[in-house]
């Protein structure tokens, strides 16, 4: 008997038979997401910037529509309150299932983000334990928020309430929310006062919708609620005279959501590591976590959210770090649309109002659209991401033809970032220009962030090492892209420039005292002598010689930087170290993934796997989510989103490019495969890897690698110094090596 594909690919991530309010449970959709606590309520208290704040609720288009959202029950003519206790919660990617029980009632609820709808649905089955029919009073209590997550500290204080096809619609800040049910609402109260169905403006703290239904003795009734809305112009309420899509389709929502998830998962690569089940399980969880960040709010705005709950927009840097993993998940089309979105909002010229310089990719992009620029590194990554996209698909001509102009703008942008004196790329001062925007009218406001590298609350001016490494990779990528664009002069210039950057990193950043790299150089040439994990990127990029690379890795893995739960953003021996400062000592999973990739690069697979296992264990412990960061002094999330793409995407990429050593070049019909497995391993498999129009499967047993290739063209595998052509439809063949 074949297993149920939906159950296999859409498993329960975690479950509990008692309330776990401290655990988050997410339901996600392309247009938004919902946050519940592990007690099944739309309420989740989370320490945020040092204070506990309730993030539970429904979010659409980056707008927090409501939170909490409570259903209340009453029975009989007096509506005697019934308070069922939670008896179970099951969390899957597609939905959260909650069961509650009281003496009189049993309630089962499915919470999900229905496919292609801008809201969260609650599908409820109420079963009577009574021997006689009874009247059930249902109250849905909503706190309107309509707060853009983009400006996290704020919420509106004035709302417009208006009728919409017989229902209530609340509006503020260019956004709206509507609560629908499949039962006629009999009463609506605003802050405890009956609503007469007319337009009302002012403060509003609570909306109560109520209706009654007849509950048969020992019978079950179904109730459906949909809370939806979003940014005006992105959601079109005129189209929704009933619930969006109508209630007729709602019976299939659970099945459809589960099937969508299972279908996506089944189309991704399969990783088997019998010698390391934790790593294999971590892959499955990281894969699903990455997919839960996908967003498409308008045809031209597609990508991945940075994280949940408070980084729910597309952030250019986070998107760039996610894209390699998206490609490895066989989602070249999603990567393509994401890159197209990034280029759609590329600054065509200097836009001081938004802190943009010509050619820059946005820092942040929200539906509306609302977008801002002003980072030092985001744009640099996109040379390499376009190169990767081409390498995976082989479609160089079409891609380069479409993106010729954005790439030319990127090229000019990078050239402007170079300091002509030092020949290094400059970081710092990017956000200063935002101040003009922030001083419109009688108010001004701002954050004194002098520097906007990946650790954007740290001052790492003027030439951070990771910015130079990103530029080196950009030049290497552009050398390839320029050839495809017919610009051999530009290609050679990039080759020379990459070599120059490599030499500058090796010579100017070498820190003999620590056998490491300086974190940054100042414009006057003095060094910023801080031990941060960013130097590891130079190892992974091949910027250092073998001996220096190994020294840098070994130094990074000393306990002042490498805690048992991951790498800190700053050595705990540094005088400015603070275990709860975001970028001055907290542990970040992305930095742990950097260390793993560096370990594979220098040929230390045991260390690489050990570091990846740290991450895999956190995914298991966190129920398929991945914290943004942890305290530097103990294994405890702090000021941390419960899921960040940074925390899963580089892990996934490292499995493919570090552990399996894959480097596709479909333009030339090739892939290099140089796996580095721990010596204790005997077996590993990686199958269903889509490359161009074909699918590759790899099998490694006792040191021998074999492959299967199903494609319409031949694929040449480069392994151990030898090239082996695989013809279309190749059954499993061993891949010989030039040397062992």
């Amino acid at each position: 008997m074949s297993p149920d594909p939906v159950a296999e690919h859409e498993p329960i991530l975690w479950e509990s038979d008692h309330p776990r309010p401290e655990r988050p449970a997410l339901v996600t959709g392309l247009e938004g997401w919902g946050v519940l606590g592990g007690n099944g309520e739309f309420s989740w208290l989370r320490e945020t910037r040092g204070a506990r704040f309730d993030w539970g609720g429904v979010y659409v288009h980056g707008i927090r529509l409501t939170g909490p959202w409570v259903l209340q029950w009453g029975l009989g003519p007096e509506a005697t309150p019934v308070r069922p206790a939670m008896t179970g919660i099951q969390v899957r990617r597609s939905r959260v299932t909650i069961t509650r029980r009281a003496r009189e009632l049993a309630i089962r609820e499915e919470v999900l983000f229905p496919p292609n709808l801008p809201g969260v649905a609650r599908i409820v089955a109420v079963t009577s334990n009574l021997d006689a029919p009874a009247t059930l009073h249902v109250e849905s209590q909503v706190r309107p928020l309509l707060a853009p997550v983009l400006v996290e500290g704020l919420q509106p204080y004035e709302f417009t309430v208006e009728p919409l096809h017989g229902r209530l619609r609340v509006r503020a800040v260019g956004s709206s929310l509507v609560l629908d049910t499949d039962h006629p609402v009999e009463r609506v109260r605003l802050d405890g006062v009956d609503w007469a169905g007319v337009v009302r403006r002012g403060g509003l703290a609570r909306i109560d919708h109520g209706f009654t239904v007849e509950l048969p003795a020992h019978g079950t009734i179904g109730l459906r609620f949909l809370l939806w809305g979003g940014v005006d112009g992105c959601v079109h309420p005129e189209e929704h005279r009933a619930a969006p899509g109508g209630w007729g389709a709602s019976g299939d929502w659970v099945e459809q959501a589960a099937t969508d998830w299972a279908t996506w998962t089944a189309a991704t690569p399969v990783l088997r590591c019998p010698d390391d089940p934790e790593l294999e399980a971590g892959y499955g969880l990281a894969r699903g976590a990455l997919r839960s960040l996908y967003t498409r709010t308008e045809p031209e705005m597609q990508g991945l959210r940075a994280g949940y709950p408070w980084y729910g927009d597309i952030w250019g840097r986070d998107l760039a770090w996610a894209l390699p993993a998206v490609l490895w998940m066989n989602d070249a089309e999603w990567a393509e649309a994401s890159i197209r979105t990034a280029f759609e909002y590329q600054a065509p010229e200097d836009l001081p109002l938004l802190a943009a310089t010509a050619g820059e990719i946005p820092m942040q992009l929200s539906p509306g659209p609302v977008f801002l620029y002003g980072t030092s590194d985001t744009s640099i990554y996109f040379f390499d991401r376009v190169r990767r996209w081409i390498a995976h698909t082989g479609q160089a001509e079409a891609i380069l033809h479409e993106h010729r102009e954005p790439l030319a703008r990127l090229r000019r942008w990078l050239d402007r970032k170079m300091d002509p004196a030092s020949r290094l790329i400059t970081n710092g001062g990017e956000a200063d220009r935002l101040r003009r925007l922030a001083s419109v009218g009688s108010h001004s406001y701002g954050i004194d962030s002098p520097d906007m590298t990946i650790w954007d609350s740290a001052d790492r001016r003027d030439h951070a090492v990771d910015v130079q490494v990103a530029a080196l990779e950009a030049e290497e990528a552009y050398a390839e892209l320029a050839l495809g664009l017919g610009d051999s002069t530009g290609s050679w210039a990039s080759v020379r420039r990459a070599e120059e950057l490599r030499m500058l990193i090796r010579t100017r950043y070498a820190w003999a005292g620590e056998r490491y790299l300086y974190d940054s150089l100042r414009r006057d040439g003095s060094a910023l002598a801080r031990v941060r994990p960013n130097a590891l990127l130079a190892v992974s990029a091949g910027a250092l010689g073998p001996a220096a690379a190994r020294e840098v890795l070994n130094r990074a893995l000393e306990p002042d930087l490498n805690a048992p739960w991951g790498l800190r953003t700053l050595s705990n021996r540094d005088p400015t170290y603070d275990p709860i400062a975001y970028h001055e000592g907290q542990v970040w999973p992305i930095a742990t993934a950097w260390a793993a990739q560096a370990a594979f690069r220098v040929g230390l697979p045991e260390r690489g796997v050990e570091l990846l296992r740290v991450l895999a264990r956190s995914y298991l412990r966190e129920g398929g989510l991945a914290n943004e960061c942890y305290r530097g002094d103990r294994d405890e999330p702090w000021n941390s989103c419960c899921l960040l793409g940074f925390s899963v995407a580089p892990f996934l990429t490292t499995l493919f490019e570090g552990l399996w050593g894959l480097r596709p070049d479909l333009v030339h019909g090739k892939i290099a495969i140089e796996p580095t497995f721990p010596s204790a391993w005997r077996e590993a498999e990686l199958s269903n890897v889509v490359l161009g129009q074909g699918t590759l499967a790899l099998f490694w047993r006792d040191g021998t690698l074999s492959a299967e290739w199903r494609g319409d063209r031949p694929l040449t595998v480069v392994h151990g110094g030898r090239e082996t052509p695989l013809l279309p439809g190749t059954a499993r063949v061993s891949l010989p090596r030039e040397r062992t």
Binding site: G50, P156, H443
Partner: protein, 160 residues
Amino acid sequence: VRSSSLQLDSELAKEGVLLSWHFGGRSVAGLARIAEYIQRSVYLAGSFRRTEDGFRFVLLDPPLRLGAFVHLELLVDGRPVPGDRVLLRSERIGAPRSADSVGPVTPIELLPGDPVEFRVRTDPALGGGAHAVRLNLRNQAIPPLVWFEFHDRLLDRPTA
């Protein structure tokens, strides 16, 4: 003041046109929406009033960042006010706290939906007319300074 303000507005208008040209009118509308939102959601308009021994004002929400702040400084017309003369109170804060009681071990939490009243003792009394009131805040998790400044006319105490 008026001419520089006009100049700024004209530059802004030009940039707005540029933005609209490249990204469509919705991009300008979106930006204006967020700017207006911040303008309405932080400083409570009309709350800057004279009190018996100084002045008061209300912030409806924390400016730009929520959380626990370890440093809080108030400046009026560019001059810092001693921390012991600045009192904050809100439903969440509970008993009024002075700005100089705020520190790494005793941070103050500023959260959305919890309006904070600032009462400031001044000696001598602040003159009438418009003033600039600036708040500097530092969060331990994300140390770069967050600041907010409003310009408003100091209103007299309500008459009984």
